[in-house]
């Protein structure tokens, strides 16, 4: 105990808290470390914006949060985007992107409806598993192409976005799945609540917690960050880069598959246009939530808050009497703001690192 203390200067003497956190976090006490991490996190600023939006909308119209529908929708509406944003976050952390999630979600949403139409007595859990599997396979295709073809994920998944959508158009055509085609049990899942928390939200939050915990603590999770920070270095270091990339894309696809089931339960209608454009919302949620678009940093918690913020802003702006055009512009401003903040913070971090290196 004491002999290590002799060699290290005390945190207060010479170095500031922020510097200690940067260079050698273990010098601070665990509680203080945790507190500083939270206070300095990107997620906190986004969370505060979310709180501000909710407070503003609620003062204008207290039904926004305090009516039974308002509370339910506040939790329920972001759950589908949240799943997509979590998958997207994992992929972006590896310095890739998955633009095909919207089309994947469409295919699995249609699969959900199709299964109920063709096999009216099929158990819901089988449908969920089938959609997870289909999403995972579609994600695997992306993963194989990205990991082995060496073509940027942006191009590959842009291609599969159109291919998957094409399959959807051929498969579904002008056919629609209507609410009447599906069992009531399944449809009621879309709005059912447990202790006033919607089931879909619980599913999404459980997924979020598992993925978040894995990324934060598990070796595989940390390797994803390492790959995203510097793919070449990760490869040289001997990390199984391809296998990790495959896993990231499979996860993203499977979550999009799950999102497809939730979509069908929530909206009760599936046509061939389902989810077009939602992939960009997922990327936006991740970026707003503090995931660096060049990979290697950010957390799925941030992406989840980003998803909440995007959906909640879209709900709140009409209540505040702001026109359609400005509603979209606000989302754009948020994205730009998040990226500028990201650059500023990254530059400050680099400067501080350089300074503390000079100190020691």
């Amino acid at each position: 105990m004491s002999h290590t203390d002799i060699e290290r200067p005390q945190p207060g003497a010479g170095t500031s808290t922020s510097e200690a956190l940067l260079v050698e976090p273990s010098r601070l006490s665990p509680t203080r470390r945790a507190l500083t991490t939270v206070l300095r996190s990107r997620e906190l600023s986004i969370f505060l914006v979310l709180v501000a939006v909710v407070v503003l909308a609620t003062t204008k119209n207290n039904g926004f949060l305090f009516s039974s529908d308002g509370w339910r929708n506040f939790l329920l509406n972001p759950s589908i985007l949240l799943l997509l944003a979590v998958g997207q976050a994992v992929v972006i952390i590896t310095r890739n992107v998955d633009l095909s999630v919207g089309s994947t979600m469409a295919l699995t949403a249609y699969l959900t409806g199709r299964l109920f139409v063709d096999q009216p007595n099929i158990p819901i859990i089988v449908v969920v598993l089938a959609c997870l599997a289909m999403g995972a396979v579609l994600g695997l295709v992306n993963g194989v192409l990205v990991a082995y073809a060496g073509v940027p994920a942006l191009v590959i998944t842009l291609g599969t976005l159109y291919i998957y959508r094409g399959i959807m158009l051929t498969w579904a055509g002008s056919d629609r799945i209507n609410a009447g085609d599906m069992p009531r049990d399944f449809l009621s899942l879309g709005t059912k609540t447990i202790l006033s928390i919607p089931v879909l939200t619980i599913i999404a939050v459980v997924v979020l917690a598992v993925v978040g915990y894995y990324l934060h603590t598990a070796r595989g999770g940390r390797e994803l960050y390492a790959i995203g920070s510097d793919p070449d270095a990760a490869h040289l270091y001997g990390l199984a880069v391809r296998r990790r990339l495959l896993a990231a894309f499979v996860l993203s696809g499977a979550l999009a598959g799950l999102a497809g089931v939730l979509y069908t339960a929530r909206y009760g209608t599936v046509s061939s246009g389902v989810g077009s454009g939602i992939e960009l919302q997922a990327v936006a949620a991740a970026v707003i939530g503090g995931i660096a678009i060049f990979g290697g940093s950010g957390t799925v918690w941030g992406a989840a808050i980003g998803a909440f913020l995007l959906v909640t802003i879209n709900r709140a702006l009409p209540s505040l009497g702001i026109e359609d055009f400005w509603q979209r512009a606000v989302v754009g401003v948020l994205i730009l703001g998040a990226i500028v903040l990201d650059r500023v913070l990254a530059r400050r971090q680099a400067r501080k690192l350089a300074e503390s290196r000079d100190h020691s």
């Binding site: 119209n61 039904g63 926004f64 009516s67 039974s68 529908d69 308002g70 929708n73 509406n77 055509g173 002008s174 629609r176 209507n178 609410a179 009447g180 449809l187 009621s188 879309g190 709005t191 979509y263 909206y267 009760g268 209608t269 599936v270 046509s271 246009g273 389902v274 989810g275 879209n314 709900r315 009409p318 209540s319 359609d324």
Partner: protein
């Protein structure tokens, strides 16, 4: 060895390219040809009618074909349905050519394109085939008659009538439309606004908002939520689009506004069945495609028999539906939109 290996690939590539190239000009290919071999008539006293919907396997057109078949039975006419799998204009051309070659008496068609089919239809008509369009028209000068499902005035009036009935003639209403630049939607909305202002029956109804769901399920759903949130006193919603009304019904059916906010508009029975059954929606409107096919067949028969020539003012009898008169531009109007409610919705499947 290497050489041999490459050859099939090259061949495949060539074949693929050729396929695309041929597919590209396929439309032109089938456009001409045919024409010459169109001599004989259907033969005998029996009338032969061919129905060509936009595509097969479409529940809407299955219903219209059922109606047409019923009419053909009543008329003692020979009836046949043909059609492509997908609704693309050039896919219908070959069927029109076949009808001309077979020397059928009449063709009833829902056109996938107003212009692209005119050449083929002209040839069929020169081979003495009477051509009646229904549901979707071609240019007026290339067909004999068009059976119009409903007029804008009729649609606007019907929806106001339904909503006024459902909210007891007074209160705030809102419109959930498709996209802000959809011409048919906007003309209906404009007519509804005018009617609300002019008709004393609607003096106590106030239109408080018009929102656009872009015919997207999710956006229409979210817009319904916003409408209910922003207008706590809202009594009714009109959604003159099939996507919008189904999305709004889905939202209402699980919200605390169910039963308090009325919803009506244009929808199809299959989309709305669930919500009519669970009491979210009491009545909505659309035309009856069965009647549309039925009327089209009677109109075609009247043309073939020479009862009418398709001039404005001609009138003909259409079995159960009564008597109809040809309007300007050879248009026959089916009538007011048809109202679906829980008593009759089970009779329809489209």
């Amino acid at each position: 060895m290497k050489f041999q290996k490459r050859r099939p690939t090259a061949l495949a590539a060539l074949l693929l390219t050729a396929t695309f190239a041929f597919a590209g000009c396929g439309g032109d290919d089938s456009g001409d040809g045919g024409g010459s071999s169109a001599g004989g008539d259907g033969g005998g006293g029996d009338m032969s009618v061919t129905m060509l919907p936009k595509n097969l396997g479409n529940a809407y057109f299955d219903t219209s074909t059922d109606g047409a078949e019923k009419a053909a039975d009543e008329l003692g006419a020979e009836f046949e349905e043909v059609g492509p799998d997908t609704a693309s204009p050039d896919a219908q051309v070959q069927y029109i050519n076949t009808v001309a070659q077979q020397g059928k008496d009449a063709l009833i068609i829902s056109a996938n394109d107003p212009d692209a089919l005119c050449d083929a239809i002209d040839e069929a008509r020169s081979a003495d085939v009477k051509v009646v369009t229904f549901d979707a028209d071609t240019n007026p000068d290339c067909r004999d008659l068009f059976i119009n499902q409903a007029t804008s005035e009729g649609i606007a009036a019907k929806q106001l009538e339904l909503i006024a009935d459902q909210i007891g003639g007074k209160g705030e209403i809102a419109i959930l439309s498709a996209s802000a630049n959809a011409t048919n939607q906007n003309s209906w909305i404009e007519m509804m606004e005018k009617e609300l202002a002019d008709n004393p029956d609607y003096a106590d109804i106030e239109l408080v908002d018009t929102v656009y769901g872009d015919d997207d399920d999710q956006k229409s759903f979210d817009q319904t939520e916003a409408l209910l949130q922003n207008h706590p006193n809202l009594k009714g919603i009109i959604s003159p689009t099939t996507v919008g009304i189904a999305a709004a019904a889905r939202y209402l059916s699980d919200s605390s506004s169910k039963g308090k906010v009325a919803l009506t508009g244009l929808g199809t029975p299959n989309q709305m069945r669930e919500y009519v059954d669970n009491g979210t929606v009491t009545a909505f409107a659309l035309w009856n495609p069965g009647d549309l096919g039925y009327l089209a067949t009677y109109a075609a028969a009247a043309l073939v028999n020479g009862d009418i020539s398709g001039e404005e003012g001609d009138s003909f009898d259409a079995g159960d539906l009564g008597s109809f008169e040809v309007g300007a531009d050879g248009v026959v109007l089916l009538g007011e939109p048809f109202t679906f409610d829980k008593d009759n919705i089970a009779d329809f499947d489209f």
